[in-house]
């Protein structure tokens, strides 16, 4: 069995009386691109800082290549990190920024120059080598920050929301570049973001965090198609999954507040009727303009993007339903349209922790 590149064992972290990380266990394999995603304040950055060694866990163990590194200072863990603010040394040129870490390792000058030049070529920053960070644009600074991480040839790259200071276009471009970089270098990468699109597009595996706990770990589509609870279901996917509230009966009948009644095949037995939430992805809803279908809804607003149409509708009881269509259709506000649902694509969340119920015959994609 291969030794995982990184292993976290019941990591806990408190700031004084405030506990921010509540016992996290995680294995990260060699060469994986893992994204920590979650709303702000969920502890994802704290977790990254614990791995980096910039903060110490209150309890639990951190293992790198099978070795416990809790007491090893950040400077000796052999990881490199790209900070949200880039944290480039403002008084050094780009070349000095890149070589600083290697100089600290007392590396041979020739080797330093070779690695720096390689990284500069890879990131296309070679014309900027003599400049100071103050003379660079945001995207260029971002590249230098990544370059500084690359030259170290670290065991693991840590990224702390590296794209959040860039504008939308540049963010898209850098996202692709980082993904390419991972394919090229093959290093283990841990990437923290609050942006679920970044998580979905870049990750081999996503770790969804909420208030210091792991909600679910898995491949992006696994999480998208089979979210283990309502939080994960709502966090991944844009536009967000629709949530309708109602009851589920032990015989599998859904009795929703909006009037929808439908049988589903439960993969588990319920002892009594339970309150539940029905989750519907916007793209899994069919539309008929003549009003036929499982339910009728009223169009409040819509967005025609050409390839996609988003329809924002409302049920008679006031619950909203967003529909995503892969085609263009004529619409007007206030119009009544019929919607059809596919029970094989239902997500049903019940119980206090709003966990997903097992359904038989559910489509996986």
């Amino acid at each position: 069995m291969m030794i995982p590149a990184l292993e976290l064992k019941t990591i806990k972290k408190s700031w004084g009386a405030l506990q921010v990380i509540h016992g996290i266990d995680l294995h990260i394999e060699e060469g994986e691109f893992v994204v920590f995603v979650g709303p702000s304040g969920c502890g994802k950055s704290t977790l990254l800082r614990l791995i980096a060694g910039l903060d110490d866990p209150t309890s639990g163990d951190i293992l790198l290549q099978g070795k416990r590194v809790n007491t090893v200072p950040a400077s000796e863990r052999g990881l490199s990190m790209v900070f949200q603010s880039y944290a480039l040394y403002p008084h050094m040129s780009v070349r000095q920024n890149l070589s600083f870490g290697l100089e600290n390792l007392r590396m041979d000058r020739v080797e330093i120059d070779r690695r720096v030049d390689d990284a500069a070529a890879l990131l296309q920053i070679d014309p900027l080598m003599a400049r100071r960070p103050g003379q660079l644009s945001g995207g260029q600074r971002q590249r230098v920050a990544i370059g500084r991480a690359i030259v170290r040839e670290p065991q693991i790259f840590l990224f702390d929301e590296p794209l959040s200071n860039l504008d939308a276009e540049l963010r898209l471009q850098m996202r692709v570049e980082i993904a390419n970089l991972h394919a090229q270098l093959g290093n283990t990468m841990i990437y923290v973001t609050h942006d679920q699109v970044e998580a979905m597009t870049m990750a081999d595996r996503i770790v969804v965090l909420r208030s210091g706990q792991i909600e679910q770990v898995g491949k992006p589509l696994e999480l998208y198609n089979r979210p283990c609870n309502k939080f994960v279901a709502g966090f991944l996917g844009a536009p967000q999954m629709n949530f309708l509230s109602g009851m589920i009966h032990p015989d599998g009948t859904l009795d929703m507040d909006c009037g929808l009644k439908m049988p589903v095949r439960l993969g588990q037995t319920l002892s009594q009727p339970e309150k539940c939430t029905l989750g519907l992805r916007p793209e899994n809803i069919g539309v008929s303009l003549d009003g036929a279908g499982d339910m009728t809804v009223k169009v409040q607003n819509f967005e025609q993007l050409g390839s996609v149409t988003y329809i924002y509708t409302v049920f008679a009881n006031g619950e909203t339903l967003t529909v995503q269509l892969g085609q263009q259709i004529p619409l007007r506000r206030g119009q009544e349209i019929g919607v059809t649902f596919d029970p094989n694509r239902f997500h049903i969340f019940a119980g206090e922790d709003e966990r997903a119920l097992e359904l038989i015959g559910r489509a996986t994609a």
Binding site: L54, S80, Q84, Y89, P90, H91, G101, N104
Partner: protein, 359 residues
Amino acid sequence: MGLATFLTRTRGSADKANRIGAADILAYGYLALGVLIILVPVLWTFASSVKPERAVDSFDTRLLPMSQIERPVEGVGNKTSWIYIDEAGTTQEVFKAGPTRRETDVATFDNPTDVFTVPRTGLEPNEEVRIATENYLDPILKRNGQDNFTFFTYLFNSVFVTVMATAITLLINAMAAFALSKYRFRGRLTFTILIIATLLIPSSIILVSLFFVVWSFGIFGSLWGVIIPAAATPTGVFLLRQYMLTIPDELLEAARMDAASEWRIFWRIVMPLSLPALSVLAILSVIWRWNDFLWPLIVLISDPSAHTLQIGLTTFSGEFDSDFHYILAMTVVSLIPITLVFVWLQRFITTGIATTGLK
């Protein structure tokens, strides 16, 4: 040209900028007043330092260095020259051939034996503008009996004390400020407050205890006795700490991720980024140490070869008589090095601000 545009700038946007408003007049007036308050004493010192001894002693307040002409008189020696104006208004150059009385005996330089008597009120000193270079050259070249003033020894001592004390001050204060601003430890705030609180204690109060400390360390009478006690300044620690607080922690963390030791972080990251504050402290420290008088006097009084310039200046003030013309001249000389230091260091203050490249 550049200076003229600089001095005629007015406030406001470009379209209003050509008009001179009340605010401009007030601002320039205020600035001019400030310049005068700072500059006049220095200029006065300089103007007085080139006046001859007699003019300085008689509190001659004219701006130009006026000096009474002296000429040799055969068989008598040098005599000061006077102008005699008689009632008719004709003038005649004379020297006093006897004591000054209401009716004074005078004679002309051409015919010194022909003594005649004139009323004292008709005599005016015969003056010319002359820069009294002897005020500067006598002490420096040990002329005119100024053997006790060993200028180059004093200069060396002053430079040594100032340079060493400033270097040690910068290093020690920066290290203390780094720890107090960037490390989290129990009692950090307490230590900071304690250090700042020592600002409240006047130096004259700790003079005696400081004397005993220096004495017991065996550095009394040596220049190190001046340098070391002055090295740790609360002002410097506070100034640098406040500045270092503005250096983002992420830079230090990035350096840690770059495998830098704490010592390297201090040297390669924190010190260069604190250059503006370090320059300010360097200027302050140079001025303090250069102008320091009381403490060097106490420590070094027994050994004239260890005197600094400021103590050296006391050579000229005796119990009964002070050579103010030498004091003034040597004061001007002692101003030159710190002025140069300031000119050199002040550009770091501005470049430091300009190169802070964080967003």
